[in-house]
């Protein structure tokens, strides 16, 4: 039968990890259960204060072997309660991947047997929330140098949601055209989807009739 990581070992490892990172002040974590379709799977759900986020990230990377940053999500809660106006969700994973050993000039592939995986090798899923109070310029410490995978995630989050990352090298717009005006971040809730009525959607769907941005300027 297809072998998968047993839930028990994963839950045990998740509890251990949750306990470990709850010690850091400003961070509390617990193990939650996510069921998509048929299989339940344990997820380390934690939230950390913006100040202690950087230390948490470094500790996760160095001590707990969390080596993979899957996604960074920025959420804008304009009506949220006072200190939860902006939320950044880091989806991290512990994969336990090492470079395969090289014996007599040949690479020996690392074939992990899921059913007998133990200890720090068990793959784990983390979801860390960082909340920010109401500010014009929400920003969190960047983890670009810890997980390079987070680099373009942070660029995309800033580009679309407007959450800045201190210490991020080369922050630029990736998904939107480069000449998008400063401060325009579409996923913020004040921007609403406008259903183009039939007429103006087709008459000027590409916006040719609209005057160009530099109209009137001497070129």
């Amino acid at each position: 039968m297809g072998k998968i990581v047993p839930i028990k070992t994963q839950r045990a490892e998740a509890d251990k990890l949750a306990a470990a990172i709850s010690e850091i002040d400003g961070v509390e974590a617990e193990v939650a259960e996510r069921v998509s379709g048929t299989n339940p799977r344990p997820v380390v759900l934690g939230n950390s204060s913006p100040e202690s986020w950087r230390t948490l990230a470094e500790k996760l990377h160095s001590e707990h072997g969390v080596d993979y940053c899957s996604m960074v999500t920025g959420v804008h809660w304009p009506e949220g309660d006072e200190d939860k106006k902006w939320e950044i969700v880091y989806h991290l994973m512990r994969t336990g991947i090492r470079n395969p050993p090289i014996e007599d000039g040949l690479v020996q592939p690392v074939i992990v047997d899921p059913s007998t995986v133990r200890g720090s090798g068990t793959p784990l899923e983390l979801e860390l929330h960082v909340y920010l109070p109401e500010t014009r310029t929400p920003s969190v410490d960047s983890v670009q140098d810890i997980w390079v995978g987070a680099d373009w995630n942070e660029k995309e989050t800033w580009d679309l949601v407007g959450i800045d990352f201190d210490g991020h090298q080369g922050m630029r717009r990736v998904l939107q055209p480069h000449e998008t005006p400063k401060g325009f971040h579409p996923l913020q809730k004040q921007h609403h989807l406008r259903y183009h009525d039939f007429q103006d959607m087709y008459d000027d769907s590409q916006g040719f009739m609209r005057k160009p941005a530099d109209a009137g300027k001497i070129k």
């Binding site: 040949l106 690479v107 259903y195 039939f198 087709y202």
Partner: protein, 322 residues
């Protein structure tokens, strides 16, 4: 000639053997397979073109009948079925205007399964607008109007008397205008160059208590409590429906959302082209499906409504005795 040294790669080291022999032998075999009679030789291991397999299932056979063009055809998994050259290896391509895929492979176009043009049975549509809310791209547009159902106009003695609806809270009501009959009698629509005189004043029923009903007149003359016997129940009916096929992506959510079996995804895939987006605005006539096409489901739907009507009757009667 081993490249292992510089690529450090354990696998499939390039050597004379696979320099040109294997790829060229494979392309030559592919070419020989397309030659009419040589292609069937065994050493070419031709399980490629036209490998006969039973592909048509019984349900499709019954639906399609025996004189369907695909009846006498031998099928193959890789669609070697088109009949352009009966004896020579058949090309995979279907010569579209002259051959149609539903003739060659009928199981791909099972009526309910294939998402072609949207077909609507306008007769059973009750303007509930569920399909409009279901459409992700807002392609469905519908204009409705409040009307009195024809069943309300029956007097005692007519055989369909008593089947009309009842006043409900939140529904619509209509009261006949007094002077309507004499105006209508002298009204000559052809030369009058004016709208026909309105027969009813419509209103939304706010609440019904005993034989009194408080209604809000839709012509803005405010809320009034009226004797409910003078009110007739009214309902929203569809006037016209449009589908903007320029925006439609044929996802089928509207067909799923319609509770009244009046929305179907037909098998047609080629009648929907136009030179401008206005032409893709399909009105009722171009998206119509005749009830006869889905006769059994339309009948089932009408039976269900009649069933509901009968229960309402029974409940009213029970309440009348209590």
């Amino acid at each position: 000639m081993s490249y292992k040294a510089n690529t450090g790669h354990p696998h499939a080291t390039p050597n004379f053997r696979n320099l040109i022999i294997r790829p060229m032998w494979m392309t030559l075999k592919t070419a020989l397979r397309t030659v009419p009679f040589i292609g069937k030789l065994r050493f070419l291991k031709n399980d490629y073109h036209g490998k006969p397999t039973v592909m048509v299932d019984q349900a499709t056979m019954d639906r399609v009948g025996s004189e369907h063009p695909s009846a006498g055809q031998k099928f193959a998994p890789d669609r070697e079925t088109s009949q352009v050259m009966p004896f020579v290896e058949r090309p995979v391509t279907v010569m579209y205007p002259y051959e149609r895929l539903e003739d060659l492979e009928p199981w791909l176009f099972v009526p309910g399964n294939y998402f072609g043009r949207i077909g609507i049975v306008w007769e059973t549509c009750t303007a509930c607008k569920l399909c409009i809310h279901a459409c992700p791209n807002d392609c469905l547009h519908m204009t409705t109007e409040v009307r009195v159902n024809v069943l309300e106009l029956s007097e005692d003695g007519d055989e369909w008397h008593g089947y009309g609806g009842e006043l409900e809270e939140g529904g619509y009501a209509a009261r006949e205008k007094e002077e309507y009959h004499d105006i209508a009698a002298s009204f000559d629509l052809v030369n009058a160059h004016a709208d026909a005189p309105q027969q009813y004043d419509f209103a939304e029923v706010i609440e019904i208590s005993g034989d009194k009903a408080t209604v809000r007149w839709s012509d803005g003359s405010g809320i009034e409590t009226v004797d409910s016997t003078s009110l007739k129940p009214a309902e929203q009916d569809i006037v016209s429906g449009q589908i903007d096929l320029g925006r439609c992506m044929f996802c089928g959510l509207c067909a799923e959302a319609c509770p009244f079996e009046s929305f179907f995804m037909t098998n047609e895939y080629d009648g929907m082209s136009g030179f401008s987006r206005e032409e893709l605005w399909m009105d009722a006539s171009r998206t119509r499906v005749l009830p006869a096409v889905h006769q059994e489901r339309v009948d089932m739907e009408l039976a269900k409504r009649a069933e509901k009507e009968k229960e309402k009757r029974a409940r009213k009667a029970a309440r009348a005795e209590a």
